[in-house]
């Protein structure tokens, strides 16, 4: 118990100490947390009428962002798998960072769903025993189950590894017999949460543009592009500002994954566009609306072409070794563009245009409100705050700067 207490204390103390850039970043996040607290209060007391959602476009920015968090959370296994499946030594130490990303992003996704719900106070109605779960019919029930299991799998994995490293009992060769299966389960669970999330959308026959079999494939390839982009940036920052050892081979592997996930994404987009646009039936209506607008409603058009252009551009850019190896300049830029491109793709291509035409033939544009926008930023700021602090604490443990000292009075070793 004493060990656990000092683990929590030392890690937290290490996590909140940093240089001026670190504090500036935290302060930057706190601005959005402060503003977002007010806008969240407004939304939770006055209702979703403060968002841009309508009976025609019933999913708001929160749901779109939730799908994106599922992308990143699922993709974190791409950092865990090489270490555990292929026994890559350079990756095995870093696997825990992937699990942290998964954990934080799943938690963020669940938070977005709370913002999406009209009655978050009735959440317990979904808990079996207290409430009722519509199993096995409702896809949202499956999604709730897989997201929660994934959250706790990763939370457990992260705590187990970090704690044992902290007290010095972690031996990669002699992982407890029950621990390796848990890691494997967590790796398999990553794609699972994403496929189920795709099915939550694809299960709605009336959403013509979602009722397609390529949706999970599109989701997984976008996950493979956006998740590693974030992790590459984290690794590049970590090796620049800390003693964490991240070799070029790790970055190169992740860059390859990003590039070919984007390659697969091109194929998925092309396949979907061909199969709906050639025959041009009602299944093509929302895609055509997204691409060209309709009767003067063309809000999504620049977003569509901008996002497609960005993703194709990033794919081509990553084929050049000079850009892939420009660790200080081009690579972070490309990673940022991929991450941001896929993030913006969610509302502007996947979610909002899919609601037009509505079942009764209405074409609608979605106008994000200020309150909704700051609520989204609030959730993101919280996500990045937790991500920064947990990753920083983990780096302290991985580099050995934070260690358990029986004799010393549990202070952070300054080295």
């Amino acid at each position: 118990m004493k060990k656990a207490w000092s683990f929590a204390k030392d890690t937290s103390l290490y996590a909140v100490k940093g240089g001026s850039i670190f504090y500036a970043w935290i302060l930057f996040l706190f601005f959005f947390i402060l503003v977002g607290s007010y806008t969240s209060y407004r939304q939770f007391t006055e209702g979703l009428i403060l968002t841009g959602a309508t009976d025609q476009i019933t999913l708001e920015m929160f749901f779109a962002n939730f799908v994106f968090t599922a992308h990143v959370a699922a993709a974190a296994v791409l950092v865990v798998a090489p270490g555990y499946f292929y026994h890559r030594k350079d990756m095995k130490e870093l696997a825990v960072i992937g699990e942290i990303v998964a954990m934080v992003f799943v938690a963020t996704g669940i938070t977005f769903i709370l913002y999406h719900m009209g009655r978050p106070d009735r959440l317990l109605h979904m808990v079996p025993g207290i409430g009722f779960m519509n199993f096995p019919n409702s896809m949202l029930v499956y999604d709730t189950i897989v997201l929660n299991v994934y959250l706790y799998l990763n939370l457990f994995g992260v705590l187990y590894i970090l704690y044992n490293k902290y007290v010095g009992t972690f031996d990669a060769k002699h992982l407890a017999r029950w621990f390796t299966p848990i890691v494997y389960l967590a790796i398999a669970w990553g794609p699972l949460i994403h496929i189920v999330t795709a099915f939550v959308l694809a299960s709605n026959a009336r959403m013509e543009s979602w009722a397609t079999a390529v949706l999970p494939f599109g989701f997984l390839s976008m996950a493979g592009a956006s998740g590693p982009s974030l992790i590459v940036v984290i690794f590049l920052l970590a090796r620049k500002y800390s003693k964490l050892e991240v070799t070029d081979s790790v970055i190169d592997l992740l860059t390859t994954i990003i590039a070919w996930s984007l390659g697969l994404l091109m194929l998925v987009f092309a396949a979907e566009m061909f199969s709906v646009l050639y025959s041009s039936t009602e299944h093509a209506d929302s895609l055509k609306y997204n691409m060209f607008g309709r009767n003067g409603l063309n809000m999504y058009v620049p977003w569509f072409w901008g996002i497609i252009g960005t993703l194709i551009g990033c794919f081509i850019a990553l084929l050049f070794p000079r850009i892939r190896r420009s660790y200080d300049f081009w690579l972070p830029i490309v990673c940022f563009l991929v991450f941001f491109g896929v993030l913006v793709e969610k509302p502007m291509v996947l979610v909002f245009p899919a609601f037009s035409p509505s079942p009764l033939g209405e074409y609608t544009e979605y106008h994000v409100t200020v309150i909704e926008f700051f609520n989204v930023l609030f959730v993101w700021a919280m996500a990045f705050l937790w991500l920064t602090l947990i990753v920083k604490g983990a780096i302290g443990i991985l580099t050995g700067e934070v260690r358990y000292h029986k004799s010393l009075s549990h202070t952070v070793e300054q080295s």
Partner: protein
């Protein structure tokens, strides 16, 4: 549709802040009941005084209504009656009459008779206590669909892509006369027409409301079974159990479900005090609602409000199991179709050409 959104936002901003706070206060506090009291009768005052915060708390912890014991149901009903009576300052009854046995409710609508007057829409709003201002809720949406006679024009004859070829096929891919819908189609349908007089001779009208599917996708999608089908075939919602996730709205191919985006705005003087638990009792913010075939009327053998309001007799309602009912006679003698039958939902709402 952006216009509709703008209206919603403006009206929500216009809503007097003080009034909203006031209503919220009334809803949760017994002190506020005294403020209401002077305007109301003695019996109401008595009921209002006991509608305190405990009522709200007990309501918060209640389970799914269908799964409640008879005693719990009685208490839940009493709580609601107390709360509504206090809030709207009129004696409100909340019924939980069960659906009659041996009945399967069905509806038939004669689309050749409908003149698009929307009297059904307004009768429904009044009967079912829908939100009037702020977030406007109407369970029936009337589509105004262009007749084929205005779809084709000689001007379009040589328009479109590809241009004239040696086969003479103009515009067989894009544009030209191919781009004008004709007949029963949601393409080109207008639901927000503001005509001085109806019917418009170039259009026909198709009212759409909950189709009470035999295979309802909304019931399948609901994660908490807040929406379910009763044994008379009507899909209902327990407003106190709904978590507001809107998966049902996403699943519905008829756009029949309406969400309470904000606090519903139901003026006390317009409130219909004869309510049913699953039907027209006032709803709260953040829950789904939709047409219930007027469960508070039809379970007592009356007709739905929309049927009674229809000036041209386009609407027929009845028991699908009874060969003598109006709806069965329509099915036997008319050309009947189901709207969007390709979704495989098997609605019990039929359209016919009379």
């Amino acid at each position: 549709m952006s216009e509709d959104k703008n209206v919603k936002m403006e009206e929500s901003a216009d809503l007097n802040e003080g009034r909203r706070e006031f209503l919220k206060y009334v809803c949760t506090s017994s002190a506020a009941a005294l403020v209401v009291a002077p305007e109301s009768s003695g019996a109401v005052v008595e009921a209002a005084n006991s509608a305190d915060a405990d009522v709200t708390v007990a309501e918060f912890f209640q389970g799914h209504f269908v799964l409640m014991s008879d005693e719990e149901k009685k208490q839940a009903i009493a709580r609601l009656e107390k709360r509504y009576t206090a809030k709207y300052a009129k004696k409100t009854t909340v019924s939980d009459v069960a659906a009659p046995d041996g009945v399967l409710f069905g509806y038939a609508l004669d689309m050749s008779k409908c003149i698009g007057c929307r009297r059904c829409v307004h009768a429904c709003v009044e009967e079912n206590n829908q939100s009037r201002e702020g977030s406007v809720i109407q369970w029936i949406q009337v589509m105004k669909i262009p007749k084929g006679n205005i779809s084709f024009s000689a001007d379009e004859l040589e328009k479109g892509y590809p241009e004239k070829s040696k086969f003479g096929d103009y515009g067989v891919q894009v544009g030209g006369n191919a781009y004008h819908p004709a007949g029963l189609s949601t393409e080109g349908a207008q639901s927000y027409y503001q005509d001085e007089t109806v019917p418009d001779k170039d259009f026909f009208y198709l009212p759409v409301q909950c189709q009470q599917c035999e295979k309802p996708p909304c019931v399948k999608a609901c994660p908490v079974r807040a929406t379910f089908r009763d044994h008379a075939g009507v899909v209902l919602i327990d407003y106190n159990w709904c978590i507001g996730c809107r998966m049902c709205q996403l699943a519905c191919p008829y756009q029949a479900r309406r969400f309470n985006w904000g606090e519903p705005n139901l003026p006390a003087e317009d409130m219909n005090p004869k309510t049913h638990y699953f039907g027209n009792r006032p709803r709260m913010r953040g829950v789904m609602e939709k047409c219930t075939f007027c469960v508070q009327r039809t379970r007592e053998g009356r007709s739905p409000a929309c049927l009674e309001a229809c000036p041209v007799g386009a609407r027929k309602f009845g028991n699908l199991l009874d060969p003598e009912s109006d709806v069965r006679k329509v099915l036997a003698t008319k050309r009947v179709f189901r709207f969007k039958e390709e979704f495989g939902t098997y609605p019990k709402f039929f359209y016919y050409i009379g």
